[in-house]
Symmetry: C3
């Protein structure tokens, strides 16, 4: 029997697996009512610690279409949790006897990762704080694939709040994995964050370049447009000029709303936020571009293009059902989509000693300390950059210790790179290291 597969991050799926998912989703979409034999007798649990009606109903509709049953806790924030139950304990019970699969939504980053450690059935991340929402990304990719027949090589505009939207970040990584090009058209002040660009560069060899966006028209009139492409520099030189790459025909515009619920201060008065409407869509380069949006939209897409055939945001939402049907059926083992082995992501190690070095206040490693063993994941290679394995944020620390030599070193010391990852301990200051009996290492420590 294959080991259980979870879906915490879009990285948990290989490109080949996603392609097979899309094929099955398209098959399901033809006559969604004729698959009610596939998961008969199976139960999916919706564990929603924060309410998200659209995501929940989409999953539940998919499960019912497959003939399965659904048990629902639509607002866990106000129930058992009030008796102080930990997520770990809830998942141990629900993700065991009660259901054959758990869809989890939680306000803490890393909650789904934690759930996978305690569940004996597959866990699907239905959104964990501002971290990941992989089925949203899958739906976006699937919709693009349906519309364009492929993803590789497409030119996709990401517009609006590129800074706080997790949807945008996940979508950008996924586009990069598929070999698509990204045109960033940020709301001024809400540019794509440096850490996202860095990851794109390190993991996918994506190079950002300033772009000449004159053909994008009104949409890009106030933005500094950046082009992110996996193409080799020598190829780029063929068609870039002094002002950077020139935006040509665009395949899709993906618009996002201001993420006001993720940061308390409203980023802008609504009148100043960019709006995609008839005029903006009249730009030359957008002639064939489909318009996408994760919904709900507010004013950033004008109702005057709702009837435009290029506007596919409602189709995009609708496609979430067959896509989730395919995903549920795959994770329940009823269709062959997933490979026996999970694709190899970055290695994850428990941190053997010391305090939790993750400082993100809403990371599950901080909000549910009793059941969490802090874990680290090493990103990239060249700079030593460990991240919290739950919320993916960079760890903050000044010193690193080695549990075998009992030496500790400044974070930027070359000695650090010689410590085996699973022997590394992280300290905010020297005192914390010495309190645990570590001594300052004068020399690079030998490989432990």
């Amino acid at each position: 029997m294959s080991p259980i597969r979870h879906l915490v991050s879009i990285d948990d799926l290989s490109i080949a697996e996603m392609r097979r998912l899309f094929e099955r989703a398209r098959e399901f979409s033809v006559e969604p009512q004729s698959w009610s034999h596939l998961c008969r007798g199976r139960i999916s649990a919706s564990l929603f610690y924060e309410s998200s009606t659209r995501t929940r109903l989409s999953f539940e509709s998919a499960m019912l279409r497959l003939g399965g049953g659904v048990i629902t806790a639509a607002d866990m924030g106000n129930s058992s949790a009030s008796k102080g139950e930990s997520l770990a304990d809830t998942v141990r019970v629900v993700g065991g006897a009660y259901a054959d699969l758990v869809v989890l939504r939680h306000s803490s980053e890393g909650a789904a990762r934690l759930a996978t450690e305690y569940s004996s059935v597959p866990v699907i991340n239905g959104g964990d704080g501002s971290h990941e929402h992989p089925t949203q990304t899958l739906c976006d990719l699937y919709s693009l694939w349906v519309e364009r027949g492929r993803i590789e090589g497409l030119d996709v505009v990401l517009a609006g709040d590129l800074r706080y939207s997790r949807t945008i970040h996940s979508f950008a990584y996924a586009l990069a994995r598929f070999g698509a090009n990204v045109v960033c058209v940020p709301q001024p002040g809400f540019e794509m964050p440096e850490y996202v660009v860095r990851r794109l560069r390190e993991e996918f060899a994506i190079e950002p370049m300033r772009a000449n966006a004159s053909r994008l028209g009104e949409l890009a009139s106030t933005s500094d447009v950046v082009y992110l492409t996996p193409q080799k520099p020598h190829q780029l030189s063929l068609f870039t000029d002094a002002k950077g790459w020139k935006v040509g025909r665009v395949d899709a515009v993906y618009m996002t709303r201001p993420q006001t619920e993720r940061h308390p201060t409203d980023p802008s008065d609504p009148t100043s936020y960019m709006q995609l409407g008839k005029r903006a869509m009249s730009a030359d380069s957008l002639r064939d571009a489909v318009v996408m949006h994760p919904l709900p939209r507010r004013d950033e897409i004008s109702a005057d293009i709702d009837a435009d055939p290029r506007s596919i945001y409602f189709k995009q939402a609708a496609r979430g059902v067959p896509l989730r049907m395919a995903l549920l059926a795959a994770m329940l083992g009823e269709i062959e989509v997933l490979d026996p082995e999970q694709p190899r992501g970055a290695e994850v190690h428990p941190i053997p000693e010391g305090d939790n070095p993750c400082e993100a206040p809403s990371c599950i490693s901080r909000t549910e300390e009793r059941h969490v063993t802090p874990r680290v994941r090493f990103q990239g290679r060249a700079p030593h950059r460990p991240a919290c394995a739950f919320c993916s944020n960079d760890l903050t620390f000044a010193f690193v210790g080695c549990t075998t030599t009992r030496h500790y070193h400044a974070a930027d010391s070359p000695a650090v790179r010689q410590i085996r990852p699973d022997h590394q301990v992280f300290f905010p200051d020297a005192a914390a290291a010495e309190a645990l009996g570590f001594v300052r290492g004068a020399q690079p420590s030998p490989i432990a």
Copy 2:
């Protein structure tokens, strides 16, 4: 394929359709558990923007009895809506890919009508503010039909708060359509509103007359009783005397609670509200009258008649399940009940220019302006009386313009009646008309 049928108002069903519904409901009621093949694979969505457990559970039970599945948002007021999503957008997604039918409950009048404009599947109005609740009326009619074998010609007492109860108004219209007589026994101060009586008169040729209610006993001791009947005057003259029609044997008493949740000030201290109990039901004319109530009841029906065989209010609620089974199966096209064409109601026209003339603060045309094109429906014929097509309230305006002649006229000018309905624009004052370039019309304008 037939066009999609919605159920926003009881007027959306013809008398013949309702009779067929009742026949099927009675059939389903015999053994409700043996119809689980009828809607297998179909999904109904409960979109409840305000919670109404009884209505929701009744629909969901009906759908499950038919073998279908249910996705539920029991309290939308606190979820996606918080991200600012419009009803129109929600319905476009849910009433498309997620479900094969939508049951909508909303606090804004006209919400269900708006939903029909955006849904690609049938919408059933589960109550829109103080406007319509057609399945409640259907259940009431069905229950009367089951008890009495017919509706035409019955004498039905409506008692209690006749002013604010939408249930009562809808029921009164429906009784009139079926040719039943209505005996109004209002809580003093809560008489049937003038606009309801007017519609009964205009659309159903119902004549209200003062009634002698001595045989109704305690129930009518403090009320001015009014008899509403579709009978011809010459027939009435046979059995009326100087004091008006004399109440005889009554077929049903329909009691309602004070609608305290619809108007902030409690209409009465509870001790003074009418109460139907053993003593009131001992009146001579009520000997064979069944007692009905839409539930929940409070003190207006005393528990001392719960066991009385005439008390059918719990049966009435129970009958909601087979009735809704028939309705769901019909709207999903699984049984033949509905005619291909929706019965012709009053014509509805978009208002081509100007501000929304509807002033009802909780009308969906005001609470969701972005997605609503104001629409008008003309009621009656003789006086020019346009109403909002969403909330059905009379429009308030001082002037009417014609979009072809660009003239505007005082609302009571005979010229107004010559303007084509779909060319009419409504203005609160002359300034508003002139701001849009209309000029005062001196003479009746010719037919446009």
Copy 3:
């Protein structure tokens, strides 16, 4: 056809019936997904007036596994109830046409008992205030039975808050009925209440004795341990010494959390509450003891024993699903488990006159007075001790009247015992008796 069976209290099931339930539950647990034909077409309603996600999901999972459907009101406290509907009226409708079985959770003691008076389908008590939660007790017994192969003769430690935990009280009664021994290890200040011990003594001939708990180690270091056993005194004398019975090998430790939600003042600061962890479980007498807990747990069970094979609290929760499958199937008449006759509990009588003598403020007989006829149940024999038939609390009264002689007597008068139970009326003082026309009885009244 058999009469409807309800499950309000664990006493509603005979020992033989529970044994058959356990057998069927074990059968269902082998392959829970292969029983979806058993209750096809049947509907269970979850009526939860207070939210309890775990209990609700467990029932709903069980019903879905059986192929049935579920309608859910997860938080009735905020819906119809707000229109002032009584529990009785809600149950009359839901427990009639809407569903074939009702699972009720309510904050008022006795709510489930009241529901059985108005429902036309089986009612299962899913917890009524601090009164009963019989399916929790069934799961506990079932889990013990699975682990040990029997219940009779086992030595079970009950530890923690033995005062306010209804779970503990019900479990203790049930263990006594099965002939198990109970070792009470209370959190100091939270000893087993006198009325529980009294009932154990009166109904099950259980004798409490001080116990020597030295072999229990840390767990009992600060508690006065009491042993409750149905064994005959002459048997006890064989192995007790001057210091009482000596705790030997224990079969199970059942730990409970402090019931902070049931009494407003936190009983203890969390640091001082007992904790079961590695050290406590190293005690000699606990070597083979399974560790049980009703969940959710907080700090009273340390995560350091979660992986210990003796820790079965998650299995215990998981077993709730097959157990509830068996219970639902049995109560819906789909498997043969229940005898045609409910086991004979104490007789219950309506109180024919006077005010409701129950003084428990959250008893349903006080919170829903309109629909409740106060009822009395006589406990034990020797002292005259009537209890409220809803909340089971002792009635408080100073005088008892007889409705045939119209005499009243002091509560402790021997005359009282000669009054037929169904003729007894209870008065707080003489004035209340005389207000209803009762006269002071000088002599014991003859048998009425």
